[in-house]
């Protein structure tokens, strides 16, 4: 019997990671916030947006900036008034997500990927 080797390991791990990315994409889509949502959220802007514009957009939307992630264009913000997610979108955010109990940088990676994918399919 021929037992598999490194190629098998590479193929097995690759297929598992692809399945995982697909599952993450589905869950992130489910976690994308509708326009009426409020509370603490991750808000994603386009990567080339200047910091001052991002900050102004957050304030104009009536949100309180909580912290910036390592990416700079993804922020954790908060606000109690209903419709915060929609207002952030109107101010230029490409997607808003519930605050994931993970490192915001790691959460931000997935949020950005989902926001760009959603933008591409619109």
């Amino acid at each position: 019997v021929n037992f598999p080797g490194h190629k098998f390991a590479l193929a097995a791990f690759s297929s598992i990671i692809i399945t995982w990315l697909f599952a993450m994409a589905l869950i992130m889509r489910a976690g994308a916030l509708q326009a009426g949502a409020s509370g603490t959220m991750l808000t994603v802007f386009n990567p080339n947006t200047p910091q001052d514009k991002i900050f102004a957009a957050i304030v104009n939307a009536g949100a309180k900036p909580i912290r910036e992630t390592s990416f700079g264009f993804i922020w954790v913000v908060s606000g109690d008034e209903p419709g915060l997610s929609g207002r952030l979108r109107n101010e230029g955010a490409i997607g808003n997500y519930r605050n994931l109990p993970l490192s915001p940088t790691i959460a931000g990676c997935f949020a950005f990927a989902d926001a760009k994918a959603a933008e591409a399919f619109q």
Binding site: I16, A30, N99, P101, L102, S103, P104
Partner: protein
């Protein structure tokens, strides 16, 4: 020869080596992955019930204790009745325990479900049981590689389940997420099915294996000097890993690094762990196992000493976590390999179980002493240096291990 070829041709697809190895990897991913996500439920469950965090922490502490105590028991059952059946029973217990966690209304029920039942479920469906099955299925020259593959799969499980469950909790809620996790653990049942190929209903020794009874095997193993050295070395592994897992993030915070950065550093450990475990399996298959095992402990000691002596910056932290990640579970394939060399495959799950129990005692002490000594001295320094000293100790005790079949375990 003709008969063997015909037999192989008649082997169903789900008993082929590729399927067995792949599904074995999936069992390890689910078992390790689900377990690694419980920390994310601390806040939502404690807040939902109005419990102090101690309640949740006690359940997880009990879970770890039962995982340690349960592993030799699960190993003994796997050696007697076959790994697949034990993995399947473990999956049912794992899922049931998570469901009890979900619906528990009192701390007592929560501790029974999340602590005792889940702990036993983890032990019975752990990658140690998978490795024992693979050890019997794959030829000796591929055994170490297969151990590395199974360990790397467990590491990969930790890496992929954490963001998955974080996103699930955010997208839905903790109730739904726990139920999804319970359902995930039930996947272990179909994943374990191909391992039924090595199941046994007999107490007779296989070819090239010892004819000792299980109790005799355990007694003889504990009378074997090299086994005792292996047990002592693996204690250190548990101590170092548990201490770093629990106390590195607050240590980094003390040195001005953000919680967010700590999250990245911990993720780096997970990533390099996959590479390190797999590499260790390859290295173990090429020659003596005790030398690389000793080197891993020594390198850990060097990495920890360097980290504590150098200024704590983002760069030194990333280098340290990458190095520790590479050395994280890379001890496992070599340790399992040494057990197989010394005692054969007949009782490998049981004997690995006792070695793993020592690991869990080390884990308990690493976490507990880390907190206790911090409270007394206001610093983690003493525990970091204990980790260095223990690393040197483990490097030394692994060197004299005699890497050949123990006389009392000679083939029947």
């Amino acid at each position: 020869m003709k008969l063997m070829e015909n037999t192989l041709k008649q082997t169903p697809w789900y008993f082929t080596p590729v399927v067995i190895l792949f599904t074995g990897c999936l069992v390890a991913i689910v078992n390790f992955g689900v377990r690694s996500t419980f920390g994310q439920f601390t806040l939502p469950i404690s807040e939902a019930h109005g419990w102090p965090r101690e309640t949740y922490s006690l359940a997880i502490a009990l879970q770890n204790l039962l995982w340690g105590i349960g592993t030799p028991i699960a190993g003994a059952l796997a050696d007697r009745y076959g790994s697949a059946r034990v993995l399947m029973l473990g999956a049912v217990l794992y899922a049931f325990g998570i469901v009890v966690m979900n619906y528990a209304g009192t701390p007592f029920i929560f501790h029974i479900g999340g602590g005792i039942i889940v702990g036993m479920g983890i032990a019975m469906s752990s990658f140690g049981i998978v490795m024992a099955a693979l050890g019997r299925i794959v030829p000796p020259e591929k055994r170490s590689w297969a151990f590395g593959l199974a360990t790397a799969s467990g590491s990969l499980g930790q890496f992929i389940f954490s963001p998955l469950v974080g996103a699930l909790i955010a997208a839905y809620d903790w109730h739904t997420s726990l139920l999804v996790l319970a359902a995930s653990t039930l996947l272990i049942i179909p994943f374990a099915a191909p391992l039924l190929v090595q199941n046994s209903n007999t107490t007779k020794a296989g070819a090239g294996e010892t004819n000792l009874s299980m109790s005799q095997a355990i007694t003889k193993a504990f009378g074997h000097g090299s086994y005792k050295l292996l047990v002592a070395g693996f204690f250190v592994c548990g101590f170092q890993l548990a201490f770093i897992t629990v106390h590195l993030p607050p240590y980094l915070a003390e040195h001005g690094l953000t919680k967010e950065f700590a999250g990245i550093a911990m993720a780096l450990i997970g990533l390099f762990n996959v590479v390190g475990s797999y590499t260790s399996g390859i290295v173990g298959g090429r020659g003596e196992k005790r030398i690389p095992l000793s080197a891993i402990y020594l390198l850990r000691a060097v990495a920890i000493a360097g980290f504590v002596l150098l200024p704590i910056t983002q760069t030194t932290t990333l280098v340290f976590t990458a190095a520790m990640g590479f050395l994280w579970l890379s001890t496992v394939p070599l340790t399992m390999g040494l057990i197989t060399v010394m005692f054969g495959t007949r009782y490998m799950a049981t004997l690995y179980g006792f070695v793993f129990l020592s690991h869990q005692i080390g884990s308990f002490l690493g976490v507990w002493l880390g907190g206790k000594l911090y409270d007394i001295y206001g610093s983690y320094d003493i525990v970091w240096w204990m980790s260095v000293a223990l690393g040197v100790f483990a490097a030394i005790v692994n060197l004299p291990i005699v890497e050949k079949r123990a006389a009392s375990f000679a083939a029947a």
